[in-house]
């Protein structure tokens, strides 16, 4: 086939004019390289967030209600006295709700003899363990009886346990939280740091009733986790919960919610939105550099055509058609662009791996950059090669041999 012969001639041209080829690839390398890094960072961030979400212990059937207005983890109002035990009871009464776990939270210093550590102390109900599906390595979780009697018992996460007790067995020991002594009755299984550096083990749990009477001295809740009977019921349940809370809190129809939801989708959406602005800018930059790369290809090709007028003339003398010359130069431009794309992807991947290795930015390598690079560079080679290739083909053979 004639077209394959022209393709081979183009390959040879690219190989023979190494200096030109190198210069032409530069712009594409930068463009595709940065695009590869951007995609890797985008994917990495997404993975990090997903990882973070899973560390929050959400299943597809659950969501959390937090006291105070605002969005997600960012409370707008300082007053977090909006979520009450009554609210939780009302939510629990909904037919679509399987479990509600009310939570109080206080960051406190936990002390054992001369050792101490600051950790998040949660007041929760015994169902917490069921909802989180979190195993114990030693001892037991507190019971309904502990709740009723407001017992001063504590379950330690592995991080405070290690800091306070080292190699000793903590079970049965007394630790001080603030001014109050608690007996350690259980140890949570270690989950380990998440990819993003969040430590889910840095927590301790006490009965909610004990927390109310001994630690926070108030009945308002920090948040509540709601598990629906089925993932498909989550949306309806959220709507019902909103109605209950607005009624309980006497909110006028015009008032904003004084509570907020945290759902996996909500977090995801927030991350996407906040990373989108940055992503858009980066995509713009790499698009511009790809365009510049294309213009570089076009110009160098135009110059190289002037250098290669002879070659074109000779080929035409011996029977090359205009279309043969067009094809040859178009293929050259596409080859150069694809070569730049390949090198750019390689460099971009190397940068992404370095970012990951040295913890500079989270990155994740996926197949998309390869496809993107291939498609982009082919298009650029084609678009910016057309004009020079046509120019080469329009040279008259008699003049090009003068």
């Amino acid at each position: 086939m004639r077209i394959f012969r022209n393709l081979r001639q183009a390959l040879r041209g690219v190989a023979l004019n190494k200096a030109n080829t190198f210069l032409m690839t530069l712009g594409i390398i930068v463009g595709i390289g940065s695009l590869t890094v951007i995609v890797a960072i985008g994917e990495g961030t997404k993975a990090k967030v997903l990882d973070r979400i899973s560390s929050l212990g959400f299943g597809p059937d659950s969501f959390s209600v937090y006291a105070g207005s605002g969005r997600l983890f960012f409370a707008r109002s300082g007053a977090t006295t909006s979520l009450s035990l009554q609210d939780v009871d009302d939510i629990r009464a909904l037919p679509t709700v399987r479990l509600v776990i009310p939570r109080q939270r206080k960051r406190s210093r936990v002390i054992y003899k001369k050792e101490f550590t600051a950790t998040r102390v949660y007041g929760v109900t015994p169902e917490w363990q069921i909802a989180r599906d979190w195993d114990m390595t030693d001892g037991a979780f507190f019971t309904d009886q502990d709740m009723e009697r407001k017992r001063r018992v504590i379950v330690l996460g592995s991080t405070p346990a290690k800091k306070l007790f080292g190699d000793q067995d903590p079970i049965g020991k007394m630790v001080r939280v603030g001014d109050v002594f608690f007996q350690v009755i259980g140890l949570l299984e270690e989950k380990g740091l998440t990819e993003s550096g969040y430590d889910p083990d840095d927590r301790s749990l006490i009965p909610l009733t004990t927390s109310i009477s001994r630690l926070t001295h108030q009945t308002y809740l920090h948040s509540a986790k709601v598990m629906a009977l089925d993932p498909s019921l989550v949306e309806k349940t959220m709507e019902d919960v909103r109605l209950i809370l607005r009624e309980n809190h006497n909110l006028s129809p015009l008032a904003d919610d004084d509570f907020r939801y945290i759902t996996p989708e909500g977090i995801m959406q927030w991350v996407t939105e906040s990373s989108q602005a940055l992503n858009r800018m980066l995509v713009l930059i790499s698009t511009v550099s790809l365009l510049v790369g294309g213009i570089v290809i076009m110009n160098i090709l135009l110059v190289s055509i002037r250098e290669r007028v002879r070659e074109i003339g000779i080929r035409r003398c011996f029977g090359a058609r205009r279309s043969d010359i067009t094809q040859q130069f178009l293929f050259e431009s596409i080859f150069v662009a694809i070569l730049g794309g390949i090198l750019g992807t390689a460099i971009g991947l190397a940068v992404a791996i370095i970012f990951q290795r040295f913890d500079i930015l989270p990155t994740k390598i996926t197949w998309e950059p390869f496809a993107l690079a291939f498609a982009f560079s082919t298009v650029i080679g084609l678009v910016f090669g057309i004009q020079p290739a046509r120019k080469a083909a329009m040279l008259s053979p008699e003049e090009s041999l003068r």
């Binding site: 012969r5 035409r316 003398c317 090359a320």
Partner: protein, 242 residues
């Protein structure tokens, strides 16, 4: 029947808004197997005549019939095909593809044939052997002497078995020893039946041909048979064809 027939060919170039008439009313017939020199001072229109005969450009006036086909207002595609199949070019400046081996240079015209023959490599090798370059197949032009390069271009012009070999000052860039070698090659090719049209300003080179056309100011001034044809390769050049 003539292989080449020019009927009142004229060629006008536009230069700085002025019409420059390079060829005026040139009529000419060349039969198959002829060995023709076209001589004349520079600027006489020799090269323009060659471009027209070589189908590299179209005449402004007149009719050109090549091998029974009228090369009139045909498409670029058709012209390319005619060049590819019927004409072999040899240039003063060789015009080989730089960085490409001798054998690949010789095979280049085959790329633009409708079908590449299966024995392309053998054919290229054979024509290179014909010009005594069987030992230089994989050398690039930079590795060859001027004479060798010119022989590669001759081999290249022969690869498609053209009807006509058009040579434009083939010895112009060569020393006398290499020039003699190249002319011997042409003589031999003509003896084997190839039609050769040789453009030169060198009387001595012109005398290798059987027929000598003199061009001056875009017109044929004389059209002579070389009486000493055959002998000319051995004997001293005769001066003054007129």
């Amino acid at each position: 029947m003539s292989l080449i027939e020019l009927r009142s060919i004229g060629k006008t170039y536009q230069s700085a808004g002025l019409d420059v008439e390079v060829l005026k009313n040139v009529s000419l017939r060349i039969k198959e197997g002829e060995y023709v020199s076209i001589i004349g001072p520079s600027g006489a229109g020799k090269s323009t005549l060659m471009t027209i005969m070589g189908c590299l450009g179209l005449p402004s006036q007149g009719i050109y019939i090549l091998d029974g086909e009228e090369v009139g207002q045909v498409s670029d595609r058709e012209l390319s095909r005619i060049r590819n199949e019927k004409i072999g070019f040899v240039f003063q400046a060789f015009h080989l593809l730089p960085g490409v081996t001798a054998i690949d240079n010789v095979m280049m015209p085959l790329l633009y044939s409708d079908k590449v023959p299966k024995d392309a490599k053998q054919r290229a090798q054979a024509v290179l052997e014909k010009v005594m370059l069987g030992h230089r197949l994989t050398h690039t032009p930079g590795q060859l002497s001027g004479g060798e390069q010119q022989r590669v271009t001759i081999a290249r012009s022969l690869i498609n078995n053209p009807k006509i070999l058009l040579a434009d000052e083939p010895t112009g860039n060569l020393d006398s020893k290499n020039g003699v070698e190249i002319m011997k090659t042409f003589d031999r090719l003509n003896q084997e039946g190839t039609t050769i049209i040789l453009i030169t300003h060198d009387q001595e080179v012109a005398l290798h041909a059987q027929r000598i056309l003199t061009i001056k100011d875009g017109q044929i001034e004389s059209d002579q048979w070389n009486e000493n044809f055959q002998k000319s390769q051995a004997g001293p050049a005769r001066s003054g064809v007129e």
